[in-house]
Symmetry: C2
Subunit: 227 residues, 2 copies
DNA sequence: GCCACAACGAGAGCACTGCTCTTGCACGTC
DNA sequence: GACGTGCAAGAGCAGTGCTCTCGTTGTGGC
């Protein structure tokens, strides 16, 4: 093995270790992650961490990308399952919800209020779309197999054109209103999980939140046209 | 006016002034509000602020309560308008959205990820319900005037019972599934606004976000049974 | 009118933060 | 052996939330 490669490998391992400890701190302390505390846990000086991440924001960005990838992975695995498109849609929802429940601070990092002063760089764009792409794929497979039976109301006006522009990226025959229904379902999905995690459901639905979520996801599936 | 009242009035004015400056800082710097910076802006020592708010969290709590009240006020005013229940439902949605657009950091404070280490005290519970109460009132007036035509699918299982328990607080004849539809609509409302504010709509719907929101709100109104 | 008291503001100080700069060390290459 | 490079450590700066103390000032009871 080449010496340069060895260096690179050690560096990659160290980078991963920092992220791992940072994630652990995120889980206990929440979003105001202390770089110094992470360094202390690793038994190194705080300044040494700056060899790996130029700033606290850059560390946060790395965590954000990883979180997008993790939840996207969960969604894609659920989407790859068997069953009718509508069932797969609901399954994606449950997979995302369960990931969020298990990693609530990472969820807050990506779908909660943006960290103040933090500007998401370009690197986050592609991983950020994996969940909604899994949902979109479900709709398209429903279209192809003739499983789209009901339809959302036609969008009218300028945003209908914008939906049409987005629809073109998916294929020539994808109706804009289905794209709207998909985005709307994704928004409802995110809203339902955030509401549960951020305490909006307290004092109303306490026991069977999974059931309530399931009920909502079936409604979004129906709205998106999935039989 | 007696002297004690005068003192109390000066204190109330000072408290209000601190909150005002804090809100201004919130609007520019985001959620990591600096108590020292607020004090500097007011030309006073940072320690003096602690005469009015025992901690930064307490100041945040005051801002949160004010924000809940402000958005609740906007929702109630929209709900008091004329028109069919479905129109009032949509009007509430637009009022809340416009308030959120004008006060995005306050929105993030109440509906975004919770501030780390911050535990919402009891004082916030009642103001927090004003928006959803305005929506609920719309459904109930629709029920009374026979404007409920379609119905959400029946919730089954434990969460259906929980919905029934919530429904009893509204009156003897409110069906649980309408409560579910209302909560679901509220969740979708919050999700749609948060998605717009927190950047989830970037690169898809850019121009006519109001139209897209309107389209979604009409769908939630229909799901909640409002004709 | 006087006096005790509570409220108040200012300042110093503690422990913490992100981040920078300099220094010293351990390498592989020439 | 000299050199350059990547790395870690430490000191230091400016900022933070919060506490404590001290002097001042206004207020209510006598």
């Amino acid at each position: 093995m080449n010496a340069a490669n060895l260096r690179a490998r050690v560096r990659a391992e160290m980078t991963e270790e920092i992220k791992q400890v940072a994630r652990r701190h995120l889980a206990t302390d929440g979003a105001n992650l202390s770089l110094r505390a992470v360094a202390r846990d690793l038994g190194m000086a705080s300044s040494a961490v700056y060899r790996y991440f130029a700033s606290r924001d850059e560390l946060l960005t790395a965590l954000i990308i990883d979180a997008y990838d993790a939840v996207g992975e969960a969604a894609e695995q659920a989407a790859a399952g068997q069953g009718e498109p509508a069932e797969r849609w609901v399954a994606i929802g449950h997979a995302v919800r369960e990931w969020a429940l298990a990693n609530r601070h990472q969820w807050a990092l990506i779908y909660g209020s943006p960290v103040p002063g933090y500007q998401a760089p370009q690197d986050t764009i592609v991983p950020a779309t994996r969940v909604i792409m899994a949902l979109a794929e479900t709709i398209r497979s429903g279209l192809e197999s003739g499983r789209i039976t009901t339809f959302p109301p036609q969008p009218a006006g300028r945003f209908g054109e914008e939906l049409a522009a987005v629809a073109e990226q998916f294929g020539p025959d994808v109706p804009p209103y289905l794209v709207g229904g998909g985005i709307s379902g994704f928004i409802h999905l995110c809203g339902a999980i955030s509401a549960e995690l951020f305490g909006q459901l307290d004092n109303t639905i306490e026991d069977d939140r999974r059931g309530f979520f399931d009920w909502q996801m079936r409604a979004t599936a129906a709205f998106a046209g999935l039989a």
